[in-house]
Amino acid sequence: MSNRTLGLMMGAVALLIVAVAVVFVLVLSGGDGDDGGDTPARPASDSTDRDDAADDRSTQEADDRDDGDRTTGGICGENRLVTFGDDPATVFDPIQVGDASTAEYTAEIFGGLVTLNLDLEVVPDIAERWEITDGGRVYTFFLRDDVVFHNGRRVTAEDVKYSLERAADPANFSPTVLDYLGDIVGVRDKFNGRADDISGVQVVDEYTLRIELTEPISYFLQQLTYTVAYVVDREQIEDDPNNWTRRPNGTGPFRIKTFRPLEEIVLIPNDRYHLDPPKVDEVVFSLSGGSLSTRFQNDEIHVALVPAVELAGVLSGESELSEFYRPVPQLSFFYLGFNVNEPPFDDPLVRQAFAHAINREAINEVLFFDAALVADGILPPTLPGYSEAISTYPYDPERAAELLAQSRYADDMPRIVLTFSGGGGDPPDNLQAYQQQWREALGVEVEIEAIEWSAYLRELRRGTFQMYSAGWIADYPDPENFLGKLFSGSSRLNHTGYASERVDALLDEAATLNDQEARYRLYHEAEQLIIDDAPIIPTFWTISHYLVRECVQNWVDPGTIVPKYRYIEIDTSGE
């Protein structure tokens, strides 16, 4: 082989390397250029600083490990909370937020008239106090005069009005405005393009705002705590309509220090926050990285979520992680829904028989590693208004068989299909377990069918399923969000076709009552009636399984969107 060939060959190799390098450089620079601002993009200088800092941190951790003392130094040595998070599914625009992960950050950055405390009670935020008049139809909010945006501009009633009207503006496509603010007079007109402003929102003076509702709604304040009602900065939005969400100017306890999509979000305290200010210097949400529990064990993160399959290992007692374990019930539940207008589930006896025939305790123990809670009711135990007195159908195969024998379909059972949303492959274990238990207790063969998620939702709305597996997560912590939304005869989220005059009357009365205890009593009554009629079988309440370092104080998971990081303290003393 000649020198010339060799030269050519080397040239080719060089060409390949150069080609790779060029593509890589293009990709790198292209990315920075597109990000266009300082927030999501990482300027080169910033990157090296950061890497150095991270190096220091890992060196320090390594030293701590050498001392054989992981919990007192290391991650607990600094006044910053490192926790995990999900990548926000939408931009940080309160009216676009529809998912829990974006809502969590948005709630820390922005604020509204009212907010929730850690016990899920409605408490003042921008509004100092409020008066409810006209039998619950008119809310007058008196605003604090010391609320400022992150940039120092003072918040007035005009800002609140602007924010609500922006939410209802049809050009903004807010997916949540009708659900949360649709009861305000004029919101629907504005949303449908029939009005330029919301007639039911009036600025009385600089610090007084009047909101008029179409009818008295007792959970209106709860709805106002959702992100869609948060106050945004008109000046910022009008100055930079496309990119303002990258560094939003809110009124919340924190502001964004860095946001690198899919990597991390770092929040730093808002020094001028009008309520109790944050106590940590930083909150870091890690959006990527390896297994949370391994990283927790490796002292890289303060809070971790344990998947159900790892639970047995964590709780075994041999694991050093068991002392950090904290189960937190969530504001959600799973259920099996029936179409109460189609055979055979138009007969309540059949529905009740199906409910008695399943052994949820055994399924929880065997299939879920005891990671869930058998739902002894519809309202989850941490929801305000939960009652222990509610009871569901205990596992009782004999009773189940009896009920079925008394039903209209005892001798003539039609084909039954249970639909769930999923891809190919085997149905989830618990559905197969129900199938087997119904076969054993009732002699009924239930077919299980999977359907793709968007088609599932579509068919659910049309009410074409005979029987389906579903779940519900609270939007706001009120019994109405479960019972009213899922079982009221007039709710568009009622997919079972269930309509009971008694239940509807109770729900309507409860929706307008202002006495909280009396309301809850009505909801309890309605809940038990619903369960007795069995349009659904509640199966499980969900529990989130956390690991939390002991140096993290006041850490809670309230189960819904609550600004919660300002309460957290890191005990750096190493005690």
Binding site: S58, V91, S286, G290, S454
Partner: protein, 317 residues
């Protein structure tokens, strides 16, 4: 001669245009004709006919299919790949480019590692062939190769982070030392293949007459091996490197999932599962262009090396 090559390259590049168009039509149709509705999955249980209708208008899903496609192509020529329905207002470019950077960065490290380890290992194995060291070395790397990534991606963090404390598992960017573990997990299985290819190549070249001549000239063994054997044995490596180029940007799904790395493989999976039309389309087009270009690049490289191919090409092959 060089003009012929240039003409060849231009012809090849022009051919890619219909290929890309065909791919885009096919993928566009497959996605749009699937029974899934991105608006349904976007709104979830909050579905409201009125809002859904408006969103369909906003994304153009209410128009006839061919209009949608033409609109897409029109935007494409303006450098607009569309918007991600899953990631709010983010443009497709904004969604996928950072992930391509991550995967490509890791891919480059992996290629350097695979070839940087594989080539010397192969050369060494060839030089010691006949002794027990040859099968031992190659056997060792085959053993590594036979461990599935989904096993090593779980065992490696346990060993190197928890037991030895050498690395952390938090993702801090492609340029942070924490990336070393996933890159190793991703690339070590590839070393065996390169090493065996290199070993075979070295053995083959060692039998060539010019090597014997070099030895007969009385050159030092070291010079013979480095200048004559290894240099020539590197030839097949060009194809190997070239073929691994598109893979650079594909990322490794298991590694990205298990190490929580925001790369292109994970994004592709999420985009497909979430019916993120424009993102899937953008990813497929990007992948196709890359694949076609890599193939052209290999052909050109061969043209440089092998005069026969070059001449055929110049004559209009």
């Amino acid at each position: 001669m060089s003009q012929g090559l240039a003409g060849y390259v231009i012809r090849r590049l022009l051919w890619t245009v219909p290929v890309i168009i065909a791919i885009s039509i096919l993928v566009f149709l497959l996605l749009r004709l699937a029974p899934q509705d991105p608006i349904d999955s976007l709104l979830g249980q909050r579905y409201d006919e009125e809002i859904a209708q408006r969103l369909r208008q906003k994304y153009g899903y209410d128009r006839p299919l061919h209009i949608q496609y033409l609109k897409y192509v029109q935007n494409l020529f303006q450098g607009d790949l569309g918007v991600s329905t899953k990631h709010g207002d983010f443009s497709v470019a904004e969604v996928i480019i950072p992930k391509i950077r991550v995967s490509a960065g890791m891919g480059i490290m992996a290629i350097v590692l695979v070839f940087g380890l594989g080539i010397p290992v192969g050369v060494y194995a060839a030089l010691v062939r006949g002794s027990f060291l040859d099968p031992l070395i190659i056997g060792f790397w085959l053993l590594i190769d036979s461990i599935p990534v989904f096993v090593s991606a779980v065992v490696a963090p346990w060993l190197f982070a928890l037991q030895l404390g050498w690395v952390d598992l938090t993702y801090e960017g492609v340029l942070h030392p924490n990336i070393i573990l996933p890159v190793f997990v991703m690339s070590l299985p590839g070393v065996a293949g390169v090493a065996r290819l290199m070993r075979a190549s070295v053995i083959q070249v060692s039998n060539e007459e010019y090597v014997r001549t070099a030895r007969a000239k009385g050159l030092r063994e070291r010079t013979v091996v480095v200048s004559h054997v290894v240099r020539n044995a590197l030839l097949p490596m060009i194809t190997a490197i070239g073929l691994s180029l598109p893979g650079l940007f594909a990322g490794s799904l298991f590694v990205e999932l298990l190490f929580g790395i925001p790369g292109i493989a994970r994004e592709s999976l999420q985009a497909v599962l979430g019916f993120d039309f424009d993102v899937v389309l953008g990813l497929v087009l990007f992948g196709s262009v890359l694949f076609v270009l890599a193939n052209i690049l290999i052909d050109i490289a061969y043209g440089f090396i092998d005069p026969r191919i070059r001449i055929t090409a110049a004559r209009g092959g």
